[in-house]
């Protein structure tokens, strides 16, 4: 149970973050030091080439240069790293600056340091790189062909990881199904584009031999561990501080080559070194995500129940692994979460994670689940069509109804109201009325479509999720909570916030547990010098894991306060009540002590504490969830009108029924949902990282890689169901990725529904106007033999 009080459950505004509205945030590029130098990188122009020569002499000799370096120059200062220490993955040796070969356009080849970025970029022009181009491997399916060139010549092929899974007897089941859906689905390659790009500022103290690093990041402890390994520096000599972060969404979880190089340069130059990427570098070289081809065979019985599923997934991993997060997680999540909220017992998959000459792939909001939901929900609709069921009905027949439920891939859905959630969404959106409206408008030649999607989202991984693979990424979380001598409360956590408002949410939990005004609580995160070990921000774990340790610590501290107060007031601990920052004896309101008085005793007159009690008012708590801790559930419904002449998609209605357990702060929760949904909408309708046959990225500006703006943002109606999780502290479930998880599916289903009269098949994203027109024309040509334009 969450504490009841003045704050938990309320839309508490983020007053402690008011610096943001005054332009007083402190982001990475707002920090500068005297003597600082800035660097720029020379990047590969080829997707795949042998490096014949990298010559930085001319740049190095220039009077304005502070330094210019190739990989050779960094020997002894920077070690290569491996794709993943352990796990079902082939090893590749990655050097932070290219050596021998380049494998994607944008790969860092050399680095130049100068007074500022302007000069550093000028000097990059003086660096000569000679390439011997090799055939580029751009398509992941082609990359698996026997005669395809190999990115890593020592490997037998380009497959970095092949995983297989089998449960039950899918083949036998498929042979006896009333209908079998066989389709190939494609998901587009996208990247997160946080408005603040990546950057780093590193300062080496030659006297102390310590490195201090400022870097907007989601997991400062992970950064520290990786830097310690590649720089071969003791962990204790490195401090990592994440200042305010201008959005992250997963792409600020890895540790990238540029960041390692900057740290090495800080050591060489003994001056603060800074690198802030520009937007082209962000689109070229932030980790990409979600590009996959999924071949599905799904069998349903005559009653519309899914009997079996067989899939082959080809997940495009790009050219390298980034440190801290491997390229395999995306595909393996896709494969394991594919059954979604439905009862499926016979399931087999083969996953091929394939290297291509494109930017590295890692995690982006939802990791695998937006794509798995897209595939599963399309399959549901296709089966409904084939069996002549309403899309709502086929879902009713397949949703998990009894809890706890263990999925075919071994996850536990601890508690939920999946059918009720769907019914609530249908009722609130007035589903029947929209179906009537759809039929009416269709007679007028207008094309309305209604899309439904049900989803589960794995939140807060535990059980040593990454640790078992040898990564130093924690799935446990830690909190140090202190009542100071002035009666103020400060919490330090290992998790971090990149704009989610987590500090406010945690302060609400702490303030209500200790019964004191919110203004007295300070939450600090993102500094390895002060934060206990924890895992940072990923897998929607901020509230679940951060909330858990904040609650547990606050409860433990409350207990101590009660014991001290009971001792000083000569009452029983169970008779002590806390309110407004004071401890009272129940029924005797005049007998009370302020937190300040209690803290004074705890810190300065420890002799007056109960016999044997440890002095001070400070606790440290660690907690690790199960793997995964718990699932959020959502039912989303979207109504669109598709304009066949222009391919435009107009969203008329978007309604979400969300079950992320009890809410700490509905304002923050809804912000996560709406923001996540809009990011997903970007992928569904606009965003697409397009490479040509030579492996050149064609979408390297925000003019080509189109993000949704306020004009494109639909009104999103959100309703909550709150099923507490029995597996987490306070029953909390995560929410940050759940919005994103459903968008691809609900858009695809709505558009497919609208285009049914054309017989158009929606199996690929994004549904840009051009693709929608193409889908309609293809089918018209196919069915009538004449082209749409000729027919008028």
């Amino acid at each position: 149970m969450l504490p009841s009080g003045r704050y938990v459950g309320q839309r508490v505004p983020r007053w402690e973050d008011r610096r943001f509205v005054q332009g007083r945030g402190r982001y990475l590029d707002d920090l500068n030091f005297p003597e600082q130098v800035e660097v720029a990188f020379v990047r590969s122009l080829h997707a795949h080439a042998r490096l014949l020569r990298v010559d930085v002499e001319a740049a190095r000799k220039h009077p304005e240069a502070v330094g210019a370096y190739t990989w050779e120059d960094l020997q002894g200062l920077l070690r290569p790293y491996w794709t993943m220490p352990r796990g079902p993955i082939r090893q590749a040796y990655v050097t932070p600056l290219a050596s021998g070969k380049v494998r994607w356009v944008g790969e860092p080849v050399a680095v130049v340091a100068a007074r500022d970025r302007y000069v550093a970029e000028d000097l990059c022009e003086l660096v000569t790189v000679e390439y011997e181009p090799l055939p580029a491997v751009v398509d992941a399916c082609d990359a698996m062909q026997r005669d395809c060139p190999r990115l890593y010549e020592e490997w037998p092929d380009n497959v970095v990881s092949r995983q297989t899974f089998r449960a039950g007897d899918p083949e036998a089941q498929l042979a006896n199904c009333a209908v079998v859906i066989r389709k190939r689905f494609r998901s587009n390659r996208v990247t997160a584009v946080p408005l603040e790009g990546r950057g780093i500022l590193a300062r080496w103290d030659p006297l102390e031999e310590t490195l201090t690093v400022w870097m907007g990041h989601q997991d400062v402890h992970l950064v520290r561990s990786v830097l310690s390994e590649v720089l071969e520096l003791p962990l204790a000599r490195i401090r990592v501080i994440s200042p305010d972060v201008g959005g992250a969404f997963g792409i600020k979880l890895p540790i990238y080559p540029e960041e390692m190089v900057v740290c090495a340069l800080a050591r060489i130059l003994k001056r603060p070194v800074k690198w802030v990427q520009d937007r082209k570098e962000s689109l070229l070289g932030d980790t990409h995500a979600r590009e996959a081809v999924v071949d599905v065979e799904a069998g349903f019985d005559a009653e519309g129940r899914i009997r079996a599923m067989r899939v082959h997934i080809v997940s495009d991993a790009g050219a390298y692994a980034v440190a801290g997060r491997g390229p395999v997680i995306e595909g393996s999540m896709l494969a394991r979460e594919l059954p979604g909220p439905y009862d499926l017992r016979h399931y087999a998959y083969t996953l091929d994670v394939v290297m291509t000459n494109k930017a590295p792939v890692a995690v982006y909001r939802g990791v695998g689940i937006p794509v798995s939901t897209f595939v599963m929900e399309r399959v549901m609709d296709l089966a409904a069509d084939a069996l002549n069921f309403d899309p709502a009905e086929i879902r009713r027949r397949n949703l998990v109804r009894t809890f706890p439920y263990t999925t075919v891939t071994g996850h536990v859905y601890d508690a939920g109201q999946y059918v009720e959630g769907l019914e609530k969404a249908l009722e609130l959106v007035d589903y029947r009325r929209w179906r009537v409206e759809q039929a009416r408008l269709r007679e007028q030649g207008r094309y309305l479509g209604i899309g439904i999607c049900c989803l589960v989202d794995a939140t807060a991984r535990g059980g040593g999720f990454y640790g078992r693979l040898g990564l130093k990424a924690a799935s446990q979380e830690g909190c140090i909570l202190r009542i100071d001598p002035a009666g103020g409360v400060s919490a330090a956590l290992g998790t971090t916030s990149q704009g989610q408002g987590l500090g406010t949410a945690l302060a609400q939990l702490i303030a209500d547990t200790l019964a004191l005004p919110l203004e007295r609580v300070t939450v600090v995160m993102g500094d390895t010098a002060t934060a206990p070990y924890g895992g940072g921000a990923w897998a929607s774990r901020g509230a679940v894991a951060g909330g858990a340790v904040a609650l547990l610590a606050a409860r433990r501290l409350r207990e101590k306060v009660q014991h001290i107060a009971a001792h000083l007031l000569e009452a029983a601990p169970e008779d002590i009540e806390l309110a407004d920052g004071r401890a009272f004896v129940r029924g005797a309101p005049t007998r009370s002590l302020s937190l300040e008085e209690i803290a004074h005793t705890a810190y300065f007159v420890a002799a007056d504490l109960p016999r044997g009690m440890e002095p001070g008012l400070e606790v440290m708590v660690h907690w690790e969830p199960e793997i995964p801790a718990t699932f959020a559930y959502a039912a989303q419904v979207m109504v669109v009108e598709v304009h066949p002449e222009t391919g435009a998609i107009e969203i008329l209605k978007y309604l979400v029924v969300e079950d992320c357990g009890p809410l700490i702060n509905p304002g923050l929760v809804d912000g996560q949902l709406r923001g996540g949904i809009l990011q997903g909408l970007g992928q569904a309708l606009y965003e697409d990282l397009v490479y040509d046959a030579q492996g050149q990225l064609l979408t390297s500006t925000l003019m080509d890689y189109v993000l949704p703006g306020i004009q494109e943002a639909p009104e999103i109606e959100i309703h909550h169901m709150s099923t507490p999780s029995p597996r987490t502290v306070g029953g909390l479930r995560g929410v940050a990725e759940s919005g994103t998880a459903g968008v691809l599916a609900v858009v695809a289903n709505a558009v497919a529904d609208a285009l049914k009269p054309f017989g158009a098949e929606v199996t690929a994203l994004p549904l840009s106007p051009a693709r929608v027109v193409e889908l309609i024309q293809d089918r018209r040509e196919w069915t009538t033999g004449t082209s749409y334009t000729e027919g008028g």
Partner: protein, 165 residues
């Protein structure tokens, strides 16, 4: 050392003199040379709107202008909205209505809203959407920003009323 040009600017009501290379972006001059780090650089090619400032009263993208082009101009950055110390009603509205998450787009959003509300104190939803169309946000999904601007209009109207005799 490259040639520098002397320019004079007024930023948030204060006069500044500085010498800049002709190629120096206005955004960099404001941020690095004068310390107005509320000017955020999000794309450097005029799409995201995070570097928006008011130049002689009009919205401009300071990443698309050279500092020398702003010689003799009056500039307002987000830091200039509450020089008195009290939050401007638009700033208050953005807090009350959860109009920001990471805060990176926020200065540009607030200045775009400021300019809109100068011209149209009671904007329709459509007008707000049009006025903010050049400012990208990756966190909020925009709904709370829209509500923040509506709330700001109401707060400004209240303030106006209380000033009326």
């Amino acid at each position: 050392m490259r040639a520098r040009v002397a320019i004079a600017l007024r930023v948030n009501g204060q006069p500044y003199r500085l010498e800049v290379e002709p190629r120096r972006l206005l955004a960099d001059a404001l941020r690095r040379d004068l310390g107005f780090t509320g000017v955020h650089v999000g794309c450097e090619h005029g799409v995201c709107g995070a570097c928006t400032v008011l130049l002689d009263g009009e919205l401009v993208r300071s990443c698309l202008m050279f500092a020398v082009q702003a010689d003799g101009c009056e500039i307002l950055t987000v830091e200039g909205l509450n020089v008195s110390g009290d939050l401007h009603p638009i700033q208050r509205a953005f807090i009350e209505e959860f109009g920001f998450q990471c805060g990176f787009c926020t200065p540009g959003m607030i200045l775009a809203a400021y300019r809109l509300l100068q011209e149209r104190p009671h904007p329709s939803e459509k007008e707000i959407r049009r006025a903010l169309a050049g400012n990208l946000c990756r966190c909020t999904g925009y709904a709370d920003i829209l509500r923040s601007v509506q709330r700001a209009a109401a707060l400004l109207a209240e303030a106006e009323e209380s000033r009326a005799p």
